[in-house]
């Protein structure tokens, strides 16, 4: 994939190949933290930070350590370890600079570790054979896409507090339905750019 510009990948990762709405990755924290726009945006910011930097680190480790030593089978466990360590770092960072956000995110901050969107971004980078710049663009775009989706849904859910939802649909059920509708809406972007 050497010829595609990183900018195209960035746009694609946000709109056409949105990691959440096209791949449905990272649903767990997405459903749990999408009740309020401000906490959703906070978690989104943390996810952007983590995806961008972990793709960069994972790219380095994969191409400069694992590939030369023919240890690519280790990539899963190593990617997860890197993500876990990086999330620890983000946790310290958020706690230091925004205690209110830290407590609002609560358990979901450390749970970013097992947010499959983040591992997904690193794995797509390998599968699609991105260059370093493309990877960074994809990591950043993936995070931004996830954030965009969670903020949009949080906005809807916040508004929906005043609407009458049939009892069996209240809570996660209706959130899944609107996520589905949102995913279909995003298909409207499909022709804009295509990556694999």
């Amino acid at each position: 994939m050497g010829e595609v510009s990183p900018l195209v990948i960035l746009v694609a990762a946000i709109f056409t190949n949105n990691i959440l709405l096209a791949n449905f990755l990272g649903m767990c924290s997405f459903l749990a933290v999408s009740k309020r726009i401000d906490t959703a945006a906070g978690l989104g910011a943390a996810v952007i930070f983590v995806t961008t930097f972990t793709t960069a680190i994972n790219y380095g480790i994969y191409h400069h350590v694992l590939v030369p030593m023919e240890l690519t089978f280790l990539s899963y466990i190593i990617f997860i370890t890197v993500i876990a360590a990086f999330v620890q770092f983000v946790e310290m960072f958020v706690e230091r600079f925004s205690p209110v956000l830290y407590h609002a995110l609560g358990i979901f901050l450390p749970l970013i570790t097992v947010n499959c969107a983040i591992l997904g971004v690193s794995l797509f980078m390998i599968i699609r054979n991105y260059t370093f710049m493309q990877s960074i663009a994809f990591g950043f775009g993936g995070g931004v896409g996830w954030t965009l989706a969670i903020i949009l849904i949080a906005g809807l859910r916040q508004k929906m507090r005043y609407s009458i939802v049939p009892v069996p649909f209240r809570g996660v059920a209706i959130a899944m339905v609107i996520t589905g509708v949102m995913a279909m809406t995003f298909m409207g972007f499909a022709g804009m750019v295509t990556i694999q």
């Binding site: 089978f73 280790l74 890197v82 960072f93």
Partner: protein, 364 residues
């Protein structure tokens, strides 16, 4: 060799990450030494930054009440932060009223020490000490009530007022927690602390208290509670309780009878059935020695086949209604028991002419 390479690479990466994290922690989580100013300069502590205010205070031997071991689930550890505490956190909101938030009340276990702090603590709490001791005796009072006496070792004496409570340390899977128990031994017994604990199925603290045996070491902090008994011997004392609300009443009554033998006092105590009755003999004994003291027990679910009973039956507020004269002597009432009981008794007392300021209660 081919097998070792992956292990080596993996370990190498782990070590590199661990080193990077340690360095980051040094840089990010190091707040240095912070000053805590208590009650406008009465006491200034210098503590390591980065920990919670609760643990910083405990380290400096200031024992703020805390039930949950700092997990922010009991709401007991309130203090007033004048400056330097940062914004109120969402975890604290369920425990604070609006006016408390406005006046700077915080949960000490949720406030992190990141800079110099100015806080206010009730004077009383500065006298709270940590006691170690051993179990001197254990007595089952009923099928689910135990009386446990602790002999204090370090410090060897406690200065308590009737109605105050201690916090008993109990082990839990997540580290030690504290539970509040009213002191049932009278204030003149300074070398011991006696508690009356009801077993709560699945409860951490009460199960621990019920598992204690003679000679076991214990740790507790206290005394807590701002309640003060009126020192005027002409003020009559009316104690009304039920269930596990016995402990503070026993302390009040025995202390009063010792200090003011002529002071009029009474006890109304409600139990379910004959098998839940305890301390009746002790109080009858006290009443014999002390004609100014009267005791009435009532059973709410009396089953004539469940044992002998020659006392009152029905809810305790009915007995209070029946046996307490509407009088205009100055009287103070102490209520301790389950919330519905307190509410019912309050109504009766108001009809008997008690003023709101003369009724003191603890809901258990």
């Amino acid at each position: 060799m081919i097998f070792f390479l992956p292990i080596l690479v993996f370990t190498g990466i782990l070590v590199a990450l661990a080193v990077a994290l340690t360095v980051a922690e040094r840089l990010l989580v190091n707040y240095g030494i912070c000053k805590i100013d208590i009650n406008s300069g009465d006491l200034v502590l210098e503590v390591e930054g980065g920990q919670t205010l609760l643990s910083a205070l405990i380290e400096s031997k200031i024992f703020i009440p805390s039930g949950c071991g700092g997990r922010g689930s009991c709401g007991y550890c309130t203090i007033t932060v004048v400056s330097g505490g940062g914004a109120v956190l969402p975890t604290e909101m369920p425990f604070l009223t609006r006016s408390q938030v406005r006046s700077g009340v915080r949960l000490a276990c949720q406030v992190k020490v990141r800079e110099d702090l100015e806080i206010k603590i009730p004077e009383e709490l500065l006298n709270v000490q940590l006691f170690t001791g051993t179990v001197e005796g254990v007595r089952m009072l009923t099928h689910d009530m135990v009386e446990t006496r602790f002999e204090l070792k370090e410090p060897a004496e406690i200065e308590q007022r009737p109605g105050q409570y201690v916090q008993l340390q109990a082990p839990s899977p997540d580290g030690p927690v504290f539970r509040a128990y009213s002191i049932s031994s009278p204030a003149y017994e300074t070398g011991v602390i006696e508690l009356v604990v009801r077993l709560v199925p699945g409860g951490i603290g009460s199960t621990y208290a019920h598992s204690l045996k003679k000679g076991d070491p214990i740790v507790l902090t206290g005394p807590y509670g701002e309640f003060r008994l009126s020192e005027d011997p002409d003020v009559e004392i009316v104690c009304i309780g039920g269930g596990s609300g016995m402990a503070p009443l026993k302390n009040i009554l025995f202390s009063v009878c010792e200090r003011w033998p002529d002071r009029k006092c009474r006890l109304f105590f409600g139990c379910r059935s004959a098998r839940d009755v305890f301390y009746l003999d002790e109080f009858r004994e006290l009443a014999k020695k002390n004609p100014n003291f009267r005791v009435i027990y009532a059973l709410s679910d009396h089953d004539p086949e469940g044992g002998e009973w020659d006392g009152e039956t029905g809810f305790i507020h009915v007995s209070v209604d029946k046996h307490l004269e509407a009088d205009d002597v100055k009287r103070h009432a102490f209520l301790c028991g389950p919330p519905p009981m307190i509410e019912a008794v309050m109504k009766v007392l108001e009809e008997k002419g008690f003023e709101e300021g003369d009724i003191f209660y603890d809901k258990f």
